[in-house]
């Protein structure tokens, strides 16, 4: 290639994660010349999550996904909450119904293999993957219109009339474009960390009561998980591994000077968790930030020639474990907008704003707006992650114990266990606040 020749594409997508590869897939399929720029050695190399991935989003981008051998681990056939007290476990999970269909609503997944496959589907549609390359800045017209990107490589400019930014949680590029005027706040970031622990599939099936490897479990673990600090654990069953970990807000870790691996070790040693992982071999240990600030932390989603999708745009609904599906759908909406811009030959801010219109039509912006107070609610009501789950656990434990004393006294004791920690008016207020935070009132 001539050194003075400009590198030009119809679109540059920054980041081959869930949003980026979805966007690239949709645009390449319609014939656009797409550069998919990834900083890792391979797609997925930098990505990490709990976790499970939702099929409704995959299907919307890739209807025949099941024929393309997706690297799913297990279908999620049981999901819900576990409440830990200091030594007890109360399970509130569901199975059957909507969780018992094929393809399943969600599959447990490891991102290193899933993201690689996901990017391969984009490449099969014709997207051009450029790995090992980090986008560090933009090429802009005098009026600010984005017309390309600058990468960290020598002669690293790539020209394109549209850039879709799917850079992940650390939204340096969105900041560079002025779409958000502040750095990420530790109080709105969860640091999630986990171990991937190898066990035979038979052992996993036995320990989790799963009939076979075509059944899997995904649970959030509340209560006594993170040294009494606000945090939420999780357990996902994979084919021959478990993903077990927890997320703690970054400011909490900093304030109490906690080392993530120490918190994780303690969680794994909990009497209810330890037998599940016993005898397993540690394969991986890692962590990743999750932008949990939600709607209030979202950057402006577009400017002339550019759009932002996925974690970079804080598209995460922490309560419902949604984020990957939002990333995929937002990537698709950005792609549709880029296609519209190309067909009109107009890449102005006005056309880019159609991206936000498309998001408002669907669940992403509606849900994020509804849950806009939820991050703040959890910040101010840590008892929902600690006190209440522990109380529920103890209460149910007492309810099913025969102490040989009158039940009236027992109920009084159970209630007393709550009112020791939270007065009744306080508890009532908490429940109302929770309802308001979830309903968006």
């Amino acid at each position: 290639m001539n050194q003075h020749e400009r590198i030009e594409f119809d679109v540059v997508v920054v980041g081959a994660g869930l949003a980026g590869s979805a966007a690239a897939m949709v645009m390449a399929r319609e014939g656009l010349n797409v550069a998919l720029v990834e900083r890792g050695q391979k797609p997925g190399g930098k990505n990490y999550f709990g976790g499970a991935i939702y099929t409704h989003a995959i299907e919307e981008v890739l209807p025949d996904f099941m024929e393309r051998n997706p690297p799913f681990e297990r279908p999620v056939t049981e999901a819900g909450f576990w409440f830990l007290s200091q030594d007890g476990l109360m399970r509130a999970t569901v199975q059957g119904g909507n969780l018992d269909r094929s393809p399943a609503d969600a599959y447990t997944t490891l991102r290193a293999s899933f993201d690689l496959w996901w990017a391969e589907q984009a490449q099969k549609e014709g997207a051009f993957l450029i790995p090992k390359t980090t986008v560090v800045d933009f090429i802009r017209e005098a009026d600010g219109q984005v017309i390309g990107v600058v990468t960290d490589r020598p002669q690293g400019e790539i020209y394109a009339p549209v850039v879709i930014i799917c850079e992940g949680v650390n939204n340096l590029l969105a900041q560079k474009l002025g779409l958000i005027d502040r750095d990420l706040e530790p109080a709105h970031l969860a640091l999630a960390f986990k171990q991937v622990i190898s066990l035979s599939s038979e052992t996993i099936n036995t320990r989790f009561g799963l009939p076979d490897s075509e059944h899997g479990l995904a649970v959030s673990v509340l209560g006594d998980v993170s040294l009494g600090l606000p945090g939420m654990g999780f357990v996902y069953t994979n084919k021959t591994t478990l993903s077990v970990g927890l997320g703690v807000m970054l400011d909490t870790l900093a304030e109490y000077k906690l080392k993530p691996y120490e918190v994780l070790q303690r969680y794994l040693a909990h009497p209810a968790i330890a037998p599940l992982v016993a005898g397993g071999q540690l394969l991986e240990y890692g962590g990743h930030l999750i932008p949990e600030g939600g709607y209030r932390d979202m950057p402006r989603l577009f400017t002339g020639g550019a759009m932002v999708a996925g974690d970079a745009a804080a598209m995460v609904n922490a309560l419902h474990w949604e984020g990957t599906n939002m990333a995929i759908i937002a990537g698709k909406r950005a792609a549709e907008t880029a296609l519209e811009a190309h067909s009109r030959g107009d890449f102005s801010e006005r056309v880019m704003s159609r991206y936000e219109d498309r998001l408002k039509d669907g669940f992403i912006l509606q849900d994020l707006k509804q849950y806009r107070n939820f991050a703040r609610f959890l910040e101010t009501h840590p008892e929902f992650m600690g006190t209440y789950p522990v109380f529920l656990n103890d209460a149910l434990g007492n309810f099913f114990s025969a102490y040989g004393k009158p039940k009236r006294r027992l109920f009084r004791e159970i209630l007393g266990a709550l009112t020791n920690r939270r007065s009744l008016p306080q508890a009532a207020g908490d429940i109302i606040s929770m309802g308001r935070a979830v309903m968006g009132w």
Binding site: R153, P154, Q155, I158
Partner: protein, 278 residues
Amino acid sequence: MFHALVAIKQVPDTTNIRIDPETGNLVREGVPAIMNPYDAHALAEAVHWKRKLGGKVTVVSMGPPSFIVTIREAIELGADRGILISDRKFAGADTLATSYVLAAVIAEVHAEDPLDLIFFGKQAIDGDTAQVGPGVAVRLDMPIVTYAVKVRDIDLQGRTVVVERKTERWTEVVETPLPTLLTCEKEIAEIPFAPLPDLIRSLRYDPEIWSREEPIEFDSGQIGVRGSPTIVYKMGTPPLPEAGEKVNARELGVGTAVSHALDLAQRSGILSAVLGGE
């Protein structure tokens, strides 16, 4: 115009490997494949001189089709042409069969477009034999400089090259006629961060695939398993050396500790070995 050829090998990243304790074999599953680091440094030096003198760099590798990614990586680092010698019949080659094949391919490339320098890494990090470079040089009847750490000067008109090579005690400065074969240490050149146009070209690049018959015909008796007299009798991991005695200077006092350590070293014969009996 300068023309260099670099022989490269794809190897498992040995910083990341595990040995199966029962079979003694390398566990290849999940281990990333990389370009042999010594080869990558040799390639960087070849590309450096190409950019300085004008000309081109050809890379050659022998292996299965999965080696295409390594050829592409060489293109990314500045090679112009990549040849992958790939045929089931080459499989199972030891260093003898490999040097036979590489020598024949290099002779063919040289006949098409004369070569000035041929670069090898000093050894591959999987086999650690350091035999293939010298094996090729002998077959090509070409001068060889092993353990090269620096190419001082290339004189294309005078047909000479001045190379520094590392020995255990000294650096030797060698002048040899071109073409010459070098086997290189990592110090020979830093691996640069490739410009974006080179990366893009590499991602679109399809190497030439040379088979047993085309474009040159190899003698079936000298390739693959049939051409490889080496027999691996047994593989295993060496036992870890036992930890030596520790002398606590804080408890004993520095003087006592040092004389105790010296005494131990003398009795075990280490001291005389290090000092050479002086």
